[in-house]
Amino acid sequence: MEQVYQFFINLFNALAAELQYAKVLMPSLMQGLIVTLKIFILTLVMSLPLGLPFALGSNSRRVIIRIPCRVYIWLFRGTPLMLQLFFFYFFLPIVTGIKLDGFTTAVFTFVLNYAAYFAEIYRGGIESIDRGQYEAAQSLGLSRTQTLFGIIIPQMIKRVLPPISNETITLVKDTALVSVIAVGELIRVARGAVNRDVKVTAFVIAAIIYLILTFVLTLLSNHLEKRFSRHEAQ
């Protein structure tokens, strides 16, 4: 009985010490989190719209437009994101002489990478729209542009929401990759603390933060999907 009691005392003390330590870690982790969120939001805001012209371009009847769009999508989906980061961070400055800082390079690379993924998702969404919709639009005299923006894209958005939110969750976790080009986001800060203090607490906290972020994103996407399907049959 005495031993069990002692065990809980020790456990409690250990937890209290961990919490104390975590409190010390928090300010720097929060700074890392802010960098992570900045990359995440900037990437999302720019790559979501950028994917659309590439999606349309990769379905264009004109070869001059179609081939470059497809090559771009192929390159960015076909190589590791980390390699792309290295390329733009280390190699591009040698060739062009333009040296961007780590953060800008990270956002730049992520936008290009994610726009390629979004382009493919949009393309699939557009292709899934029934031919009858185009026929109805044509029979009413709507132009190609009116058909695309008034009829096709609004329906496409609803269909691509699930894969888009999937990619969005992947993006949150992918931001961890930018630590390889010395951007002080959450993982890099956490690893610094782990190496310095020889304690994994920082990683545990980072994991919890990622879980909270992805949980919030899941709620958000569920909400959006519900909103967009409110016109469905019962």
């Binding site: 029979s139 009413l140 009829i151 329906q155 609803k158 016109h231």
Partner: protein, 263 residues
């Protein structure tokens, strides 16, 4: 057939001369000529694969012809030049011409992201530049015409097939077309609700709306059409007033077709 029709006769809303449509090896339409007068209701009947729908879809260029000539209210939509090439007018001109036709599809093809009122008023606003308030007012009149005034704010996903098709008819009428094209408007509907759609089309016929209807409903064709056209193998085999076609069919193929569908 159609030989007595003179080109540029404004009495004709639609004139199709010597239409050929080839899908690769297959001749879907083989030298078909068909004209529709102002206020006339023409029904096209025939077995599946006879080219009825293809012919209808040539009228608003959902299908491009391989040769022949099409005139809408005397204006040329398609012609064949001396080298046998089919010439359509430029995109914007063609859109304007085709907007003079309204089409009702077998599978409705309503816009699922718009409510019924928006479905009807969208094209008049975007294509004709009608003031939104006016377009909505007109859409409400059309909803009343098809008996669905209470469905204004409802989305297509929430109504029955028969109601969808009535909305689709209203959508076509909203552009104030000179001719309404119906592509098997009741084929995708349950038998017990085809009546409500047919009733709307019947009312349009009474109002002398010019209509070209591809249908499998023989009773309806007989009752509502001024003229019935029988097609088989991409050709018009026989045409005439419904009494003649249904009571006194001349050619054997029509006789066997009628005995098959009416038995």
């Amino acid at each position: 057939m159609g030989a007595e029709n003179t080109v540029n006769n404004n009495e004709y809303v639609l004139q199709m001369h010597n239409i050929v449509k080839e899908f690769g090896e297959l001749k879907a339409l083989d030298d078909v000529s068909l004209s529709v007068k102002q206020g006339e209701t023409v029904a096209i009947i025939g077995p599946s694969g006879s080219g009825k729908s293809t012919l209808l879809r040539c009228v608003n260029r959902l299908v491009t012809i391989s040769s022949g000539q099409i005139l809408l209210s005397g204006e040329e939509l398609a012609r064949t030049d001396s080298q046998g090439r089919v010439i359509y007018p430029p995109e914007s001109k063609m859109r304007k011409l085709c907007a003079n036709t309204g089409m009702v599809f077998q599978h409705f093809n309503l816009f699922p992201h718009m409510n019924c009122l928006q479905n009807i008023s969208y094209a008049p606003i975007k294509v004709k530049g009608v003031e939104p308030a006016k377009a909505r007012e007109r859409a409400r009149e059309l909803l009343k015409l098809v008996g669905l005034s209470d469905k204004e704010k409802v989305y297509p996903g929430q109504i029955s097939g028969g109601q969808k098709q009535r909305i689709a008819i209203a959508r076509g009428l909203a552009m104030e077309p000179q001719i309404m094209l119906f592509d098997e408007p009741t084929s995708a509907l349950d038998p017990e609700i085809t009546g409500e759609v047919l009733a709307v089309i019947r009312r349009l016929a009474e109002q002398k709306t010019t209509m070209l209807i591809v249908t499998h409903e023989m009773g309806f064709a007989r009752e509502v059409a001024d003229r019935v056209v029988f097609m088989d193998n991409g050709m018009i085999i026989e045409e005439g007033p419904p009494e003649q076609i249904f009571n006194n069919p001349k050619c054997e193929r029509l006789q066997s077709f009628l005995s098959a569908v009416l038995s």
